[in-house]
Point group: C2
Chain length 320, copies 2
Amino acid sequence: MKQLVVGVDIGGTNSVYGLVDREGNMYGEGVIPTKKYPDFDQYLEELYMGIQNLLKQVDFEYEFMGVGIGAPNGNYYNGTIEYAANLAWSGIVPFVDKFKRYYANVPIIITNDANAAAIGEMVYGAARGMKDFIVVTLGTGLGSGFVANGQLIYGHDSFAGELGHVVIEGGERQCGCGRKGCLETYVSATGIKRTAFKLLADHLEDSEFRNIAFNDLTAEMITKAALNGDPLAIEAYEYTGNILGKALADAVTITSPEAIILFGGLAKAGKYIFEPTKRSMENNILRNFQNKIKILPSGIDGKNAAVLGASALVWQQLEK
Amino acid sequence: MKQLVVGVDIGGTNSVYGLVDREGNMYGEGVIPTKKYPDFDQYLEELYMGIQNLLKQVDFEYEFMGVGIGAPNGNYYNGTIEYAANLAWSGIVPFVDKFKRYYANVPIIITNDANAAAIGEMVYGAARGMKDFIVVTLGTGLGSGFVANGQLIYGHDSFAGELGHVVIEGGERQCGCGRKGCLETYVSATGIKRTAFKLLADHLEDSEFRNIAFNDLTAEMITKAALNGDPLAIEAYEYTGNILGKALADAVTITSPEAIILFGGLAKAGKYIFEPTKRSMENNILRNFQNKIKILPSGIDGKNAAVLGASALVWQQLEK
């Protein structure tokens, strides 16, 4: 009998959920506007009903295996969402405990978005068969999931994998975490915007971005401009990749991964981000690791990547 | 019946080996002058005879469980020693394969010194009961062993844990690896010597070190001077701890350890190294991790630490 799991991707605006089989095929998908449910119990009730509704529409016999959740500040050990700045539920939300009232007999697993992406790559994506790799998620911020010995590194408190907050050499940009020079102030959708504005300040040449306010500029616009050959946009990616490559050269000395997978928005710039990143990593890496470590695009990145990643948590747990 | 393993610590000058039980008690120890055996087969023959000699002297019934080896550039996956600069055996030495001719029916496990120290701390020392921790060995260079999910991180090629070669902010010192600014050019026995000479260059005040040539100065002398209250030696430790603390603040974001254990020579300076390291780590760390991560002295450091660490490889393997 086919086995199905539910993957839930919780974002500040929307929560997307879907039914997924072991091969990563999706059988229906639903959306809840997270923001509209400041009451967490009501949110869960809505999520439960949405899932039940999807299950009802399945037209073959199946076995229901569990629920995997990717959420900002999801704590794997405690099954909680803790102090997530972009969610309406304040403090510590006992997600798994409460959801067990609806699904008592199957695993319910929560972790943060980047960790879910890493497990997703391992179960369905570019890291299938790998035991040691890193996933770097390039969204609004920079997230990361480190896998060693075939297991995700959660650390003693479930907060491991904060590569976005290593401090880069000479970094001066203010970070939302209260410190300065964190990697994600340079390498992320927000970071590349800041870089574009730095380049506008440093250079004299004209650019389409000279007519755009900071709050109107998006990383997508920079990506599009780079793909169209815009020199400033290409330089912004060069600058970004150069910094990312250095940070990866350091990260690699710790876990020695087989591959590093770039996931999310900025990775869509293709060679404009992959080439400078690879070049900079190789130029800065310890000799032991030279020309050994692949930098790969995501194998699940697309419309349903986050849901797939979340669903993969269950398969990985069952296979332990 | 009591179970015994052999631990072997291979150094450039000497190899020390000993019989160890599960609790870390030693039952005899022997030494081979590594340097005198440029022929690896002769070295192994000598090591085998030494071990057999120790076993003969055991005056109780025992079961022989295996051999654990800590060696520079020991490769855990391949059972080899690879291109070790300080050993006379060149290229790739198939240590485990060759030693199996003598001990066919028990596990023979090799890894590098820092990894052996980490497993030693986990089995007998300060990390007993921990699943996520880092051991930093402060010898001639800086080695490290990262443990996550109760397993040592070897990485895809057994070269993980090279924390000594992360590049520090503003680091300009030449490193033996061919690059500049590696952590171990500051934080190690050699590093603190370089720091003492930098301070002699920067400052005017008198110091006992003004009469000592670079090649005559040792880290032990700096430690002794610090413990005697010498301001320059204390400042050298302050400088060293400050840099180590920053590097640990970054490393912690990746694996989120419960504790960091400082092992080896420089750790003997006690508060002179622990206090600035802790202060600097806390001042530079991401808020999530503040006041959560212990910095501890080794629980096995002493005369037999390296042999204990090597022997622990076998116990850990048997318990997997």
